[in-house]
Point group: C2
């Protein structure tokens, strides 16, 4: 995997996170500290720290003095996530300058290409991963550290959302084409068009007139 921090807490955090985002740990599942500790061959301490951090990212909810369980995403929450996500990505587009774009466009292109490649070889999970990276790079291009930090929190939920939904189903091909188009719009400074396309890209439905981005 891509874990390996310099301390156990980080490693466990990454492991648990990827298990949740893979669906190996399903929503609603209870996660007793000692069980996990035995499973991973460490003490409860790093487990506790990892679980508490996961709860900050909304992947786990802790009932005090009771138990912790993997959160499930409701329909309402799914919509809420998408709405906020669009807003943040559009903000990033607004903040991107020709200079900041210059620095990051290589990464954007690479993520897009790798997402395409993963789809070509039929590795859906991998394509999810690279898609996530693409959007993270888009956010990073804003060079607004606060935005980046907040989006990383949201990203965990976005990824969790993809397990439940059967995304890509309809317009699998369009998906990476849109990535390329987004890059092109950014290069040309067509921000308005870029935001509209982002809406369609994220919502998988056409942009409704009158919505403020």
């Amino acid at each position: 995997m891509e874990s390996k921090g310099q301390n156990l807490s980080d490693e466990i955090y990454n492991l648990l996170k990827s298990q949740i985002l893979n669906g190996k740990l399903a929503g609603g599942e209870k996660i007793p500290e000692e069980t996990l500790a035995r499973e991973f061959g460490v003490s409860r301490t790093p487990i506790r720290e990892a679980v508490r951090r996961l709860s900050e990212y909304g992947l786990v909810s802790i009932k005090p003095r009771c138990y912790a369980e993997v959160t499930s995403i409701s329909e309402k929450e799914a919509k809420d996530i998408a709405r906020v996500r669009i807003n943040l990505e559009c903000l990033a587009v607004n903040l991107i300058t020709p200079q900041s774009l210059e620095k990051n466009i290589m990464n954007l292109a690479r993520c897009s290409a790798e997402c395409q490649y993963a789809l070509d070889i039929g590795d859906r999970a991998l394509s999810f991963e690279h898609d996530s990276r693409f959007h993270l790079e888009l956010i990073r291009s804003s060079e607004n550290s606060v935005l980046i930090n907040l989006y990383e929190h949201l990203d965990a939920k976005i990824q969790q959302l993809r397990i439940n939904q059967n995304l890509y189903g309809i317009a699998l091909k369009d998906y990476t084409i849109q990535h390329e188009q987004i890059i092109r719009y950014l290069r040309e400074g067509k921000k308005e068009e870029c935001r509209v396309l982002l809406y369609e890209h994220i919502m998988h439905s056409p942009y409704p007139e009158g919505l403020s981005l």
Copy 2:
């Protein structure tokens, strides 16, 4: 204070947070776990959990295996915070419906009034607190749990920012007048005007033409 959770970690978290936001713990100050533990008369465990949670909120930065220190806010970061803040509050305004407003308008009005009162009696710290609550209520009125959660993360930094800046300095009077005006706009459904006013309220400068909210 307003601490008192049902476990020590929460209490310590609230205590440390308020100390940072009061300026009692200044930016750059190192916070060794054992020193704090002795100070608060608890063991290192709850301290550790509190500090790690604070670092998720960006109030503390942890150098692994080294030390943790209270973060200082740079000029750049201050701007970044404001930009994201405006965006989130404007999103909330867009999401507010007459129904959701109905439920929350009492709280908004109360926060505004209490902020005014605190200013009248010259209690600046208290007015900060109620101002924060006002904006939190505005966000809550969106009834978008994801937005609310993200904003709560941002709120910690917003409050930290106020220590450094000498806000209110210029337009102290205008400040609560604007709160009232915001409520009025919301009631009348004048979202565009509300967003523009929010910009001025947060940035303490007039809304520039051509900026996308």
